[in-house]
Each structure stands twice: as structure tokens, then as C-alpha cells.
């Protein structure tokens, strides 16, 4: 980054915060906006935006971290496949440390299971191609940004005629979660900072129903501090003016209709299905299951995996945290029993989790609470 760019971005952030304060001064009540993307969570904390915002404007973190919203049951299924089916599990790094009912994939690997971290879904296909003696299961997690790559992996495995490759899909769709949050009435949300990289795939127009049906402003935002600050300023202005609208502040990468090639690949391989979310329960058409034509790539069918209702860890309030019903310090495990070193809930495990962000960026305060510092 050159000096001019640093100055420009500081100047832009300063101007956005001025606009945000001016608009906040016109509000007759406190407002809460929600971001639904782990990268937004981390970036906002990193820039210190929360403490720069006026008292009556709050930015909540919603169910935007794929690891955090993955149900305990889905994690247990992966561990079960590694332990009992003796399959090779290929997973993105984020999933390794998330605890299921009986430990994490990382612990499972330490106990001798074949669990490998991959960078791309195609790495998992390659592992299967190189060793036919192993059944390879790809842990397919993520929102619409990540789903096309899982779909391509399935198509590639089919093209190669691989009989030892399957996926365990926990893919989720963002819109049903946003609607469920609003319909629940548990949390008052006054506008959304929409996830930029999900929008790259699905397109800006997907968020239009939130404006039309719920009369809430939506701004699609990039991931730099100045971009987030500008989006928050605009959201506050739209609320103060009483003119909800959808605006795209990440137009360099996001178009109205998104990446249609990626959408077609998703559509070809997956079909919307009811899915269980941590904190939100079962949501209609909120997940993606393989279409019948690709059923032979479904690890749940190949290994007859049972989907059981699993109770979440006692005391852990990750479900409340990712739906904006509680902040991390309201959880009695936060920064006491649950820390990044010894995480209990997925929001503390994930590098994009809300609890980890709170812990990292208020670290001295919480280190004191945990007794690490006096």
C-alpha cells in the first residue's frame, strides 16, 4: 500500500464517519445493522469501527461464518465417517478444530484418522484419483461463494469416472437465513451490510426482496475499512430518511445478476433442501443437497450416514451470538472456559467467528477476566 493510498483511505473513512454521525444525529431511536459475512466481522473489528461509531448505531454479526452455522450433527457425521467408515476426509482448514459431540476433526486425526486439509475442492478429487484404495470424502461447507467449487469437484469426479469420491454437503444459502432471522422477531434489525463475495456469485438483485418485503435498506459492501464505513454511513442515512433501498458499494466485483456460469453449475449439481443451522434450527430450502443424478457422490448415501438431532454444548451460546440475540460477553463461557486456545464453541474456534473477534480485539480486558493477566 503506498502512502497516498493510506491517506486516501483514512480520509475516506473519516468522511464516512462524519456522514454516519450526521445521519445518526437525525435518528429518533437506536438502530442495529447486521453484517452476514465472517470477513466483514474481522475487518470491522480490525479497523476499530465499532468504537468509532456513534452510540445509537450498532453493527451486529449475523450467521455469516459457515463454520459457525454448521450444525453439531453435520460435524459429527464427518467424524463418524473418519472413525467408522475409515474414509479419507478432505476439509478446508476452518473446519478442523470445530468440536462435534465427541471431539474435533483435528483430535480425530491425532487419534489416527486420515484427515487432510485441502485448499481447493479439486485437491480432494486429485487425492481420490491418485489412490483408488481410499474412499475420499470432501467436507463441502460454505455459502454460495464456495458452493460452485464443490459442484465443479463433483462434475470433475464424474468426468474422471471416480468411484471413490463423495462429498458431505453442508452448503447453505444466505437468503433463507436472513428471512428466518427477520421472521423470528427475536432481533430487531434495521438494515443489512450484505456479503460481498456471496453477492459476486448470486448477484445484487437477490437482496431486493429484503427491501421490498421488509422495508429494510441493504448495502452490498467490500471488505476494506473505508468500504464498510461508507456502507454503514449510507445505511444510517437511508434509515434516517425513511427510504429503504438496495445499493451496491462493491460494484467492481458484484453485478446485478452475479456470476451466471457459477449459478448454472450450482443448479446443475445441487437442489435446495431443508437444512439444520446452529442457532436457527431447521430452515426450509436453506441448504443444498445433491440432485438425484449425482446421488452416487453423496457420502450420506454411500455410507448410510444417519442424521441425528444433536444437542449443542451445554452453556455455549454460539447459536444466540450468530443470530444477534446475545453478544459474546453475555455467554458465561466466553473468555473463561472458552478461549481461542481452548475453544468450546465454533464462534471462538473459527478465525472469522464473532467470539474470536471479540476476544482478539478486546484482548487485555478479557485476558484479565480469564485471569491470564492480573
Amino acid at each position: 500500500m503506498n502512502t497516498t493510498a493510506v491517506f486516501d483511505s483514512r480520509e475516506q473513512t473519516h468522511q464516512s464517519l462524519e456522514r454516519l454521525r450526521a445521519a445518526a444525529g437525525r435518528l429518533n431511536r437506536p438502530v442495529k445493522f447486521m453484517e452476514i459475512c465472517g470477513t466483514h466481522t474481522m475487518s470491522a473489528f480490525r479497523c476499530g469501527l465499532h468504537s468509532l461509531m456513534p452510540e445509537n448505531v450498532t453493527l451486529l454479526s449475523g450467521p455469516g461464518c459457515p463454520v459457525c452455522v454448521t450444525s453439531q450433527s453435520d460435524i459429527d457425521q464427518l467424524i463418524d465417517l473418519a472413525h467408522h467408515a475409515k474414509a479419507t476426509i478432505c476439509t478446508y482448514g476452518d473446519m478442523l478444530r470445530v468440536a462435534g459431540s465427541h471431539g474435533s476433526l483435528e483430535e480425530c486425526r491425532a487419534a489416527g484418522a486420515d484427515i487432510r486439509m485441502v485448499y481447493s475442492s479439486l485437491d480432494a478429487v486429485e487425492i481420490a484419483r491418485l489412490d483408488f484404495s481410499r474412499q475420499v470424502v470432501f467436507a463441502a461447507v460454505g455459502f454460495e461463494t464456495t458452493t460452485p467449487s464443490s459442484a465443479v469437484a463433483v462434475l470433475e469426479a464424474e468426468r474422471m469416472g471416480l468411484h471413490n469420491f463423495t462429498i458431505l454437503s453442508s452448503h447453505k444459502r444466505i437468503m433463507p437465513a436472513m428471512r428466518a432471522l427477520l421472521d423470528s422477531g427475536d432481533v430487531r434489525i434495521d438494515g443489512f451490510l450484505c456479503p460481498g463475495h456471496v453477492a459476486v456469485i448470486v448477484g445484487a438483485d437477490v437482496f431486493e426482496p429484503i427491501v421490498r418485503n421488509y422495508h429494510l435498506p441493504c448495502i452490498i459492501a467490500g471488505f476494506e475499512g473505508p468500504q464498510i464505513a461508507a456502507a454503514l454511513a449510507r445505511l444510517t442515512e437511508l434509515v434516517a430518511d425513511g427510504t429503504p433501498a438496495l445499493e451496491n458499494y462493491y460494484s467492481q466485483a458484484v453485478t446485478a445478476h452475479g456470476n451466471t456460469t457459477a449459478q448454472k453449475v450450482i443448479e446443475q449439481v445441487f437442489v435446495p433442501a431443508d437444512w439444520q443451522w446452529r442457532g436457527l434450527g431447521d430452515l426450509k430450502d436453506s441448504g443444498l443437497a445433491l440432485r438425484p443424478h449425482y446421488a452416487h457422490f453423496d457420502a450420506r448415501l454411500r455410507f448410510s450416514v444417519r442424521r441425528e438431532q444433536v444437542k449443542e454444548t451445554p452453556g455455549c451460546r454460539c447459536g444466540d451470538v450468530i443470530t444477534g440475540r446475545a453478544t459474546p460477553p453475555e455467554c458465561r463461557l466466553f473468555a473463561t472456559a472458552c478461549t481461542p486456545v481452548r475453544a468450546i464453541g465454533p464462534c471462538m474456534v473459527s478465525s472469522e467467528g464473532t467470539c474470536q473477534a471479540w476476544f482478539k480485539y478486546s484482548r487485555v480486558k478479557f485476558a484479565r477476566k480469564a485471569g491470564v493477566l492480573s
Partner: protein
């Protein structure tokens, strides 16, 4: 997890390409962004190009990714 970073394509072979990721060469898939060519900037997510970018946007995004990495955040 949905973090995507800019990379520049240095060679293309069908649906595969070699990309320059701030000095590192990585093999990526361009199947989701057809009609890309050598020299193009793309947004890269988990080994896949998911969008074409203009060069200025790519440089700006790199600045924030570098900040995130320096501070140990993001994934």
C-alpha cells in the same frame, strides 16, 4: 471462509491457469470465469477464479488482505 483475493493470470490452459498471487505462482481453475486470458486480474476463492476484476480494484483489495495477514486475521 468467503474471503477472495485478487490474482493475475500468467498462463491459461483450457479451464486451468497459473496465477500470480503477489509473487507466488498458484494453479487455479478458471471454469467459473470463462473467456479470461493471460494478464487478466481475477478474484480467487479456494482455488477458483470467481470474477474478473480491473487492475485498480485488485491493487486496493491486496492492500487490505496484506493488512489482515499481518495482523493474523481472516482465513
Amino acid at each position: 471462509m468467503c474471503l477472495a483475493i485478487p490474482a493475475r493470470l500468467v498462463s491459461c490452459r483450457g479451464n486451468h491457469a497459473t496465477a500470480d498471487l503477489h509473487g507466488n505462482r498458484v494453479e487455479i481453475s478458471t471454469v467459473l470465469v470463462p473467456q479470461t486470458k493471460v494478464g487478466d486480474w481475477v478474484l480467487l476463492h479456494a482455488g477458483f477464479a470467481i470474477q474478473k476484476l480491473d487492475e485498480r480494484e485488485a491493487a486496493e483489495t491486496w492492500a487490505v488482505v496484506k493488512d489482515l495477514r499481518d495482523l493474523g486475521g481472516g482465513s
